[in-house]
Each structure stands twice: as structure tokens, then as C-alpha cells.
Symmetry: C3
Subunit: 205 residues, 3 copies
């Protein structure tokens, strides 16, 4: 379409940016949680606060989409994006929570590799959100997230193989597997958000 | 909107009430299943019957939404509510099934605490369904479900910590963890239904 | 409706048939993977290729639905069907991957029973896709898939009971349970596709 004037509620973009900022904070707390000598109780409490703040932002988006007549893109896509971002935070919160709850003593170093992937995904997502306004230069975002997800998947598989190598006792495997899977779930959730954004961009272009 | 006349198919409300009544029965059977000296084969059979009856109700709702021109609220919300209620029943059925299948000898008492939460959630949901007609006094419903879900989550985490405390063998942990997670899944599924109803109420108000 | 002329993009049907053909290939590779003396690395590589090819088809459907004005049935149903078919492939790919990754030595024979169910489901689905055009003779498809899913569910439960019978060590249970559950997930995913098709057929009839 060569020419389009559509009055939109600009604050949707702000809210999506806010939502992604929570993910940057969450991924940072996850890194803190895995660091040696971390005060796990304290980090987990801050993660819970961050997760509540993220929930607030999600609710604001949902309330706004329900009460606004004209939205910058399809209502269902706004829901999908908002809940996709929220799912990521939930997964990262779960990972932090499990580390605290299971009192895991020794964490395989590959876990930190996964958390670094999550931190990069969060940064990229936060950077991309303001570009939703123009719908420009978004393809590099989803391509890079997909690349990171591929890397994450390889590490995930290496981690699983390591857990079952015989070096860990069954109970430790059970604990670590839950943590490893929640990190993998968070990375997958970033990919889902990237796919949602790709779909929105294709529709709107 | 001060004034609205909209011819609706009243039986949607009846079907949602019926659907929630199945949940009251299901939660009761779950409590029976955990009771000492229960005839597990017999309870599990009655649970299967209850689950089939619930399926029937869900199908009736879906058939009706597909064949009715005017629905009391958005088609997609009717689907979401119907399948949300159905998911709860599936989760409770799964929990009963696992108790039978895994032949677990000793069940931690906290499991009964979770089942009491489920029974309360089911009662509240059955009470709330008729109020969909007027869309009045529903906020107390979703607030209370959210409160119960918070309680359930604390018990869930206590249960997980207990399972990994070293008092249980790995195989018992594996079995109990599945059961504990299916109860947690059922409680979460109630919260999802409460959120769906909140969303419907906000849209329709 | 006695008379209907609706110009449609015929290639949607072709793409759905293509998508289901990938499932036939995937289920065949799954059977190869479980066969004694299989070159697991090689089969897993071919499964990855098949999964990528399936992804391509899914993307083609999504791109087409986003760029086509008139679709043969509701846009949301096309999405649901495309992603439902894609989910099946993902589950089968996961099962193959876990067999490789976990280096499981002894696979219980009931696993092959589940894979036979998957092969039958895939054949039936591939046969049914061309009938989407006329929307005729589809009910036998979803009835048969539901019957197969019931059989699969019984085998699944027998498998779980066997895993926990005491004959397997905790670590083996953990590994086999993941594989068993991914097969069960694939069968369930076929049922979901059958339900989606039932819903589409009811709407369009």
C-alpha cells in the first residue's frame, strides 16, 4: 500500500518495549542466580518482583486492547505478542525458582551458556520492539533469534547427554533436567515471539 | 451500554453450568481416590465415566457454537471457556489415573491439601457459571480462584522440596512428581478459566 | 447450501497433502530408528531433513494464507490445521532425537506398537487431505484416528506401568519415559488434527 494514514494508539509500542525490558532484567537475574556464591533467596525474591512487574505490563496491554477501538495491528496479534512475551518471563522465573527450590549444589557450566543465549535474546527483543512502529528492519531480529535458538538447542542436547552420561545420580538428573528444560523453554518462547513478529510484519507490509 | 437487547441462545449458560458440575464430581472422585482404603480400580472407572460425560458436554457446546448464528458472547471466548473447563477435567482424570497406574503406596498428606483446593475451585466455578448470564458479581470469583491458585502454588513448591529432600527413592520421586504436577496443572487450569471469564466480563461490560 | 461458487486458491489443498506426506515419511523413519541394528546417526539425520522439509511446507501455507484474499476455509482454521500437522512432525522428530541422544540400549517392544499406530495415523491423514476439497467422506477419518488414539493410550499406560514395575533402573526409566511420552504426544497431536478437521467440516457443511 503506497499511502496509509491510520490513527493508532501509540502507547501499545511503549508497552511492548516495557514488556521486553522486563525480560532483560529477568535474564540478568537468571545470570546472577547461577553465579557462584549468589544469595539465592535474595535473587529469587527480586525475580518474583520482576515477574509481577511483567504481569502488570501484560495486563495493561490486554486492558488497552479490550478498551481501544483502533489498534496498531490485529487484536489477536497483540494478544499473541503480549502473552508470548509474558510466557518467556514465566519460564525464566520458573528456572530461578527451581534452582532455589531444589537446592542444587553443582550446576554444569553449560547452564551459563544457555543463560547467555537468553540474555542476548532479551537484548535483541528489547531493541526490536520500538521498530514495530515502522515495521522496518525487523527481519534481522527474527533471523538472529532463530540462529540463537539453534545454538541453544545444540547446548540443550549436549546438556541432556551429559546428565545421562552416568556422572550424575538419578535424583540430581531429575533436578537438573527440570532446570535445563525450563531454560530451553524460555529460549523456545523467544523464538515463538520472533515468529509472531515475523507474521505481524508480513501481514502489515 | 445502558440499553441492550440481544436475542441469545440461553442454553449456552446451561451447558457451561453442566460443564462445571462435572468438575465438582471429578474433584470429589479425586478426593475419594486419595482416601485410605479406597477401591482405586472402582474410583478410576467412575472418573473415566465422569470424564466422558464432561467430554459430551464440551462437544455439545462446540456443536452449538458452530450451528448458532447469535451467541451470548464472542465465539472464540465460548471455545476458550469450553476447552478451558475441559482441560481441568482432563488434568484431574490424569491425576486419578496416575495414582492407579503407578500403584503408589504412600501418598504425602500435602496431596490432600491440593485436592481440597481443587474441590473449592470446582465449587466456586460451578457457582459462578449461572452469573455469566448477567455478567454480575463475577469479580469475586476470579479473585478467589487466583487466591486459591497462590495457595496451591505454595503447597506445590513445598511438595517438590519434600520429594527431593532425600526421604524418597528416585523411582518414587518420579511417580509422585507426575501426580503432584498433574494436580498443579489442574489448579493452573482453573486459574486460566478464571482469567478467560475475567476477559469476557471486561469485553461485555 | 445448495449452490455455491467460491473462487478458491486450490494450492492450499496441495500444500496440506504435502504436509501430510511428510508425516508418512517421518513415521517411517521413526520405525527405522527403532529397528534392531539401525544406523541411528544416519536415520536421525534423515529425520532432521524431513522435519526441515515439513517446516518449509508449513511456512508456505502460512505465507499463502497471509497473502491470499480468498481462502478455501477460515483463515484461523488453516493456521490451526497447518500448525497441528507441524506439531506432529516435531513430536516424531523429538522421539527420534531422544533415542539417539540417550543412547538407550534396550527398547521395550511396545514402542514399536506405538510407532505402528503413528504410521497408520499418518497414512490415514495423507489419504484424508485431498478430501478436504469436497469435504466429503471425512467422518470415517476422524472416527478412525480417535479409535487409534484410544488404542495408543492403552499401550501408553501399559508402557508406563512396565517402566515402573521395578525391572528398570531409575535412569533408564527417566530416558524411556521421555521417549514414550513423545510418541504419546505425537499420537495425541494426530487426534488434535482430526478434531480440527471435524470442526472445519462441520462449519463448512
Amino acid at each position: 500500500m503506497a499511502f496509509r494514514i491510520r490513527p493508532v494508539d501509540a502507547t501499545f509500542y511503549d508497552l511492548f518495549s516495557e514488556s521486553a525490558q522486563h525480560l532483560v532484567i529477568g535474564a540478568g537475574l537468571l545470570a546472577e542466580m547461577l553465579a557462584e556464591g549468589a544469595d539465592r533467596e535474595d535473587v529469587a525474591q527480586r525475580m518474583r518482583d520482576a515477574e509481577h512487574a511483567a504481569d502488570e505490563t501484560t495486563h495493561s496491554i490486554v486492558r488497552r486492547v479490550n478498551s481501544t477501538f483502533i489498534t496498531p495491528f490485529d487484536r489477536e496479534d497483540i494478544y499473541a505478542l503480549a502473552s508470548g512475551l509474558d510466557d518467556i518471563m514465566d519460564m525464566m522465573d520458573e528456572a530461578v525458582d527451581l534452582v532455589l527450590l531444589y537446592e542444587v549444589k553443582e550446576l554444569p557450566p553449560e547452564l551459563s551458556v544457555q543463560v547467555e543465549v537468553l540474555q542476548q535474546c532479551a537484548e535483541l527483543t528489547a531493541d526490536a520492539m520500538p521498530r514495530l512502529r515502522s515495521m522496518k528492519d525487523l527481519s534481522e531480529f527474527w533471523i538472529e533469534i532463530n540462529r540463537l535458538e539453534n545454538t541453544g538447542d545444540k547446548t540443550f542436547r549436549r546438556l541432556l547427554a551429559k546428565l545421562f552420561s552416568g556422572d550424575f545420580k538419578a535424583l540430581e538428573v531429575l533436578k537438573l533436567k527440570d532446570i535445563v528444560e525450563s531454560l530451553e523453554g524460555a529460549i523456545d518462547a523467544f523464538e515463538k515471539v520472533a515468529n509472531t513478529i515475523e507474521q505481524i510484519a508480513v501481514k502489515e507490509s
